[in-house]
Amino acid sequence: MNTETDVADKLSEQVTTFLAEHDPVTTDRIEFLRARFDAGLAWVHFPVGRGGLGLPPGLQPEVDARFAEAGAPDNHPRINVIGLGMAAPTLMAYGTEEQLDTFLRPLWTGEQIWCQLFSEPGAGSDLAAVATRAVRDGDHWVVDGQKVWTSSAQNAQLAILLARTDPDVPKHAGLTYFVCDMTDPGIEVRPLRQITGEAEFNEVFLTGVRIPDSQRLGAVGEGWKVANATLNNERLAIGGGPVPRESGMVGVVAAAWRANPGRRRPDLHGRLMELWVESEAARLTGQRLRQKLAVGQPGPEGAAMKLTFARLAQRLSGLELELLGEEGLRYDDWTLRRPLEVDFLGRGPGYRYLRAKGNSIEGGTSEILLNIVAERVLGLPPEPRVDRDVPFKELAK
């Protein structure tokens, strides 16, 4: 225990020193962020020289809190979710020294926004069915295909890309992972409108996009393994600090209940209290999971949290409409917009209801997550597979 405390104390001193040396108010924002990266205070669990100090990840939230208290600029983490949450750990695991030198710092400072070119119309839950082709041409690859569900594509400078480099082997074996330049002229980004009326995502068409082989991550044919590292990071993103009671959707519905005494009915109250209890259960489960992670007991339980979050968001937002009645039948705005993040609390109840439907689809459907829990946590047998040993090009599409 003493060692842990010592480490935390030492880290705290480093933050104090850094803040003393870099006035968060007067230092140029990008300069400040670059310096913080160089000081190893970006993500303390990364190695020294790569934005970190090789410390346990559980120490990061306290560092972030210290910087926030000091009024320091942050790296706008919510507009670079893919970069910070998925590209960075994958680069760390599979990147060459040169790639790390090139990409990590501007990624963390937000100078370069990243997006993800994984899903395709024919490769959703079955991501290994990716059909976008990358063909070798000297020290470059030429990429053709169509990707979908790409958030921030219109803003991104770089993308992580999964492409098929060999259709003659079984589908998991023929994939390769690249870093793709989104400013390549062969990239076309089209907004993909959703049931909310917004276009949060995009379709991305790749036509003769040229990627230098130096931007390959992992070996040729090793793309599936690299992509899984990325996806595991997606599902493990539990967020930093403690979450107060009645955060998020349950708070919205509880407020609506308190504000509308005239609309209270026993059936609605029963459902409200059930969902309130389940929301607390989810919150405490998340707290327990964070406590586990902090002492280094990570596991696939993140999948379970995502399941619960989606289910609660959907049931609560449905209840909100029913509680509001007439007001619940009105929609704030159907105009096509291209927001950079989901705004559950700023938009109206109809938006919340519709947008929450995506929670159980994006980033792994609830059905896939249930499979993951059943197989990886409970040790139940995998689904019978018919496509393991068949060359990709011979699979029925």
């Binding site: 899903s119 119309p121 959703g124 839950s125 079955d126 069915a129 979908v148 569900w149 993909l192 409108r193 959703q194 049931i195 009326g197 009915r265 026993p266 059936d267 609605l268 959907q314 449905g318 409409l321 029913e322 009645g325 007439e326 619940g328 039948l329 009105r330 929609y331 704030d332 705005d333 159907w334 096509l336 109809g350 209801y353 519709l354 439907k357 995506g358 159980s360 689809i361 994006e362 459907t365 609830s366 059905e367 249930l370 689904e383 597979r385 018919v386 496509d387 068949v390 699979l395 029925a396 599409k397």
Partner: protein
């Protein structure tokens, strides 16, 4: 044996075929999607075809008054098909609710409704339960003043039927929509867009006195027929999802072959079958003026309101990403289903009413209505 027939008769099947053919021919889902961006051009010609060409506007009006003289059984078939197509026509609001509100009043309006020459809407919020509070406007020398919010079917209507509280009870006035201010509302379901209506000394004609029972009957019929619309919505969701999952392949298999999804779809099938039975029962009881009709309507409204939402939510989830897109029609059904769930009395309200009707009151009769 006086058991009501819950099957579809041959005549009813023919009617269904006629309506379905017309809708398949004349209503592309993309036209409904366009309504969310304000393009309502599909509505008028489609409604004219249904109301006038097929003559369905007069379905519930006796032949003597210029109508078809059919019953709630047939109207339910039309609602089912309109639900199955999320069709943006005011059949429910005009040919069912408004028509029943003035049926038998002997007014010329009835013949105009029967002919589809006039389309009307009852000026109450779409959420009004059959036994719920009614907006009651004030009439002074035939000039009506007041506001009613969230009215369905106004945007398609020529005439508003406005409940007015008079000294001798509730009356219904007919008010030309042109004499009112109609503010269209951005609605969750743009295929049945709501509107707020303001009357500022709008000229109206009393078409019925002592009209409370007529208004309640109209709303109950609305709730009963809405249940059939909800069955239509749920049926489309089930059939569309089964069809898609038989086509869609992932992991080298038809997605519809994954057992967890099979079981959910089988559950949904059980729900749709049950919904069909209760909606049919409500329609048959209404058609037969059966003494169980109010119970039947409350059962159907309670059951089908939730069924359609469940079906649409399952359809969306099981379609995966494609179901979240603007171009795919599944969202039209979700928006319709969620809106319908709140219309003419939420399932929770319907069950509360039912509890009284079948002697399962919440409150103890001895102890009073305490919690």
């Amino acid at each position: 044996m006086t058991e009501l027939n819950l099957l579809y008769t041959d005549v009813e099947d023919d009617l269904r075929r006629t309506v379905r053919d017309l809708l398949e021919d004349r209503l592309d889902p993309s036209a409904v999607i366009a309504m969310y961006d304000g393009d309502r051009t599909v509505v008028d010609p489609l409604w004219k075809a249904i109301a006038q060409d097929l003559g369905l506007a007069g379905l519930l009006i006796p032949e003597a008054e210029g109508g078809v003289g059919a019953s709630a059984r047939e109207a339910a078939i039309v609602c089912e098909e309109l639900g199955r197509a999320v069709a943006p026509v005011p059949f429910l609001t005009s040919a069912v609710v408004a028509t029943i509100a003035v049926a038998g009043s002997g007014q010329e309006l009835v013949a105009d409704l029967a002919a589809g020459a006039t389309t009307a809407a009852l000026a109450v919020p779409f959420t009004t339960a059959p036994e719920g509070p009614l907006p009651a406007l004030v009439a002074t020398n035939g000039a009506l003043t007041g506001t009613v919010s969230s009215v369905a079917g106004v945007l398609e209507a020529d005439v508003l039927l406005v409940p007015v509280e008079e000294s001798d009870g509730l009356a219904i006035y007919a008010v030309p929509v042109a004499g009112t201010t109609v503010q269209a509302v951005a609605s969750l379901d743009m295929s049945r867009q709501l509107a707020d209506v303001t009357l500022d000394a709008a000229p109206g004609t009393r078409v019925r006195s002592d009209a409370a029972n007529s208004v309640r009957a109209a709303l109950r019929a609305g709730a009963a027929m809405l249940a059939s619309e909800q069955v239509g919505v749920a049926s489309w969701c089930l059939a569309g999802t089964v069809g898609y999952l038989r086509e869609r392949r992932q992991f080298g298999r038809q997605v519809g072959g994954f057992q967890a999804l099979k079981h959910r779809l089988a559950d949904l099938y059980v729900g749709v079958e049950s919904g069909t039975a209760v909606a049919r029962y409500a329609a048959a009881a209404l058609a037969a003026d059966d003494s169980d009709s109010q119970v039947a309507t409350a059962i159907a409204a309670s059951y089908c309101g939730n069924l359609a939402v469940t079906a649409a939510e399952e359809a969306l989830q099981l379609h995966g990403g494609i179901g979240m897109t603007w171009e795919h029609p599944v969202h039209l059904y979700l928006k319709r289903a969620k809106t319908d769930q709140l219309a003419f009395g939420h399932p929770g309200e319907q069950r509360r009413r039912l509890a009284d009707l079948v002697d399962l009151p919440f409150g103890s009769t001895e102890a009073g209505e305490s919690q």
